[in-house]
């Protein structure tokens, strides 16, 4: 049996076993304690003492600093690998994936849009510190600190080259995910990044079936497609991608002058190495200018079209909100008759709260989603327009270089370069 087949089977067993272990916990209904004790939610771990939060922060800073040093100065893939293993153990299994920079996008959004929510300083720091380091040294956070990336790296045994057309299509997904996460956080509906986080279930050995299935798909595909979550889903990666393009010092494949040996050409499992070129554009300058101008004109059209679609979708998007769902359930009893009343509806009826109040709240939420739908759609339209426009031009390169936006600074390519100093 080949190595990657064994690994695939093992990962499958692992996930199946974890799923089973997690499901057993849910067999008994949660008891209602007369003392008023409320069973904690398992969505996120309990509150952490102040000094331990500080420790987390210091570990984060130390881990990114050491990773940046390992990538830029020491140029050691092995060191980066061991730091990522430490991060997987600390931020993943010990801290159970929370607090997490990816999820912190939602806290920041909620703090901006809701006057009633004050973002904890630790969460804000977890959001900002990787951005600052990325601006300075590229995506070293992704390379050595993010436990999600580390976990995927661990199972990336046989990375295959993904077809460039599929790559192009999948590149849009993180923008969509980012937009949705911001929309739901801004409307106070839900933290979808956390709710559908594929890996925290593994870190906590406790998750829903859906989360385990999602994690299983990602890890199994991660054997052949390196870091699928980071490349085609991660909403924080979108922001890091933008910032990394302007990074002050970024990883270079060669420490000196590229000798064009082509040894590194296929070394990057994330396909983030840009080859020398382009040499000659077959299209005339006139055609290019025309295309560029068309693109510039079309971007507002894309924004409007996206916004319009988003506004039409606002009801569907708003149904994720519990109050809207409850109001709809009350509103359409015929639909409700097809299935038993939900627990939420039973609880609402028992609360004695007037239906009008619920309808008022649901209407306000719907209005927020209408505006949010326009903004979300417009954002996606803008991203697509920018993608199309970006594909019209390219800077001429003479050496093999990392794509600053997409490169995770994992330092794999360094090992392939024969130039040592």
């Amino acid at each position: 049996m080949k190595k990657h087949q064994i690994t695939g089977l093992i990962v499958f067993f692992l996930l199946l076993g974890w799923h089973v272990a997690a499901q057993v916990i849910q067999r008994f209904p949660r008891p209602d304690f007369e003392s008023g004790y409320v069973t904690p939610e398992t969505l996120q771990p309990g509150a952490r003492a102040g000094f331990l939060e500080l420790v987390d922060l210091l570990v984060l800073i130390a881990a990114i600093s050491v990773t940046s040093w390992a990538v830029l100065k020491r140029r050691s893939r092995l060191l980066v690998f061991w730091i990522s293993m430490f991060s997987l153990a600390y931020f993943g299994f010990y801290r159970e994936g929370c607090v997490c920079s990816i999820g912190s996008i939602q806290n920041v959004t909620l703090a901006i849009f809701s006057g009633g929510y004050r973002i904890p300083l630790t969460v804000l720091a977890f959001f900002l510190i990787p951005l600052v380091f990325t601006l300075a040294f590229g995506r070293t956070f992704c390379a050595g600190v993010c436990p999600f990336g580390a976990l995927q790296d661990l199972v990336s045994f046989k990375p295959l080259k993904l077809d460039y057309r599929i790559n192009a299509a999948l590149d849009i997904i993180p923008y969509l995910y980012l937009g949705l996460a911001v929309l739901y956080a801004a409307t106070g509906t839900d933290f979808i990044i956390c709710r559908y986080d594929p890996f925290v279930g593994i870190f906590r050995i406790n998750a829903t079936v859906g989360m385990f299935v999602f994690a299983g798909i990602l890890l199994l595909s991660g054997i052949f497609i390196a870091r699928p979550y980071c490349r085609f889903l991660c909403p924080y990666g979108v922001i890091l991608n933008w910032i990394s393009r302007f990074s002050w010092k970024h990883l270079t494949i060669t420490p000196s002058v590229c000798v064009q040996c082509r040894l590194c050409e296929d070394s990057c499992p994330y396909e983030a190495i840009v080859k020398p070129g382009p040499w000659k554009n077959p299209e005339s300058r006139r055609t290019m200018v025309r295309k560029f101008l068309s693109g510039v004109v079309l971007i507002p059209v894309f924004i409007f079209l996206g916004g319009w679609t988003g506004s039409l979708l606002h009801e569907s998007l708003a149904r994720v909100n519990g109050k809207v769902r409850l109001a709809e359930e009350l509103l359409y009893p015929a639909k409700r008759l097809q299935s038993p009343e939900t627990k939420e509806l039973i609880a609402f009826k028992a609360s004695g709260k007037p239906a009008q109040e619920l309808y008022v709240e649901a209407t306000e939420i719907l209005n927020r989603f209408y505006t949010g739908g326009w903004i979300l759609g417009g954002f996606i339209g803008l991203a697509i327009g920018a993608f199309l426009l970006g594909k019209l031009f390219s800077r001429h390169r003479t050496d093999y270089e990392p794509n600053r936006g997409a490169c995770f600074s994992c330092a794999r390519c360094i090992d392939y370069c024969p130039v040592q100093s």
Partner: protein, 601 residues
Amino acid sequence: MDTQSTRIPLISLLRKIALICGVFAAIICILVIVNYIQLKRIDPLNTPVMASLQERLKQNPGDDSLRTEIRELDLLARKAFFTSQWQVRMGGYLLLGSVLIIVICLKWIELIRPNIPPIPFPEKDTFWSHRMIRRKWITYTALLIVSGGLLLAFLTYRDLGKSLNSLETTLANQADSVTPVKKEKAVAASQVILADTPRSRDTVVATAPALPEQKFPTRQEILRNSATFRGPDGTGIVAQTNFPVRWNGITGDHILWRTEIPLPGFNSPVVWNNRIFLSGANTTTREIFCFDAGSGKLLWKTDVSEVPGTPGTVPKVDPQTGFAASTMTTDGQRVYAIFATGDLIALRMDGSRAWAQNLGLPANHYGHSSSLIMFRDLLIVQLDQQSGSAVIAFDGSTGKQVWKTNRNVRVSWASPILANTGEQTELILVADPIVASYDPATGAELWQVDCISGEVGPSVAFAGGMVFAVNEYSKLAAIRPGEPRQVAWESTDYLSDIPSPVANEKYLFLPTSYGTFVCYEANTGRQLWVKELERPTYASPMLADGNIYQLDKSGIMHIFTADSLGTPVAESPLGEGSVCTPAFSNRRIYIRGEKHLFCIK
């Protein structure tokens, strides 16, 4: 030593370890899955044996040996279940451990024997052709997203917002139409209580015939505005969200406008749509003011004079109460005000007089200060005085008395609140010596609890069915829901004589006039935190956006989270002193300062 020769045995060893761990993981996995399936099939609490034993116990309830047998069986079943659960969990950990070893072995092999990729064949320059194809694929994806979105919207769109709006209006109308029925029932019930029980101190003096049909505000309108002292229902809880937390009245930061108030008064602003109402009075003049919410411009002011029955002499009032301490109220058609002279007046929204009458000079040694409140189209006045205390409801459109309930209480300065208990709306009042609840439609007393004493100034707080009353030199009393109403817990640590408490489902927040702010656990009375605001506080706190807004006498708004921590959010100065409770509406806060009305956005 030759590196290559040491590597080969190591790789072989690592492979063997990985293989052994793989087999171990597979066995564990199978065992865990089998165990899990067994657990899924077994319902330890509902086995046939248990059901049979329980049935036998029902037939022989006195059989102690059977009861013991059931308990032992139940314990055994639970033990077996939890043991299996523990086994599954341990299996999960073993699985995790073995897989980790496999991954480590494989990674180790990868590290010591790196897989150097072959140098690819030189490709022809496909850069631009690939770029063109990428553009196409991006376009296809965009089209897929848009068409998928449109399809989803087409399949699921129901114009939910419009439906919710129309249904909300329909429900409000339905609720209005059933009022007379409820009223008759409540009157009958109250008469029975009055005849049979000596505990009631009150007498229903008069009841009115069915109310004339007319429009009054929907619940949505009430929640959107701030038509009463301490917001909708007078409970201090704001239903709307997104209110500012930081402003500076000195620099003008976040101050939308500031307008001088022509006459003094300690009443709070009343907000209805784009209009703000205040009253002011001195020894010679009583006036009502209407300001534009957008600009702060004084739209009109109406002189309250020539009210039939007004006493020729002005009453003696305390300077801290004044002649216009009672906050006005409105139903969107008229605004209502009461003064220390006992003048009760209704003005239309354009400032013209609808009706006015004098209730008699209130026998109140500090000056009348109870605020007005509306229930549907009834204007409710709490008139607690040294003798002849009563709560009276007037028809808002005509000023005719609809009902009056005498109250055997001493003079008070608190204001009424409306509390939705789930079964009905109650009108809750506090005065020495009782907290009492009335049916606001009929005036019939629903319950009373003897728990308070002294010169009661703070109004009650209500949340989650609990009523909280407090007074200086008396106590803080929490009255639990249920029949009969009883005091759940009491405290005398911190007491208030002017500002009122506010509560949510979990916590009670109590300010004191000497600047201490305390949070209690609502159900138990456990003190959670105490804050020293360091300045006197006369204004009552408001609960909005999950925050407590407490204005101190110097004009600084202390904002902290309405939770078990009370984390400070902001301290925002107004720039002038204030003793008035702020009004919250449509993302704006309106505060009456000593001389100016402020709008904060």
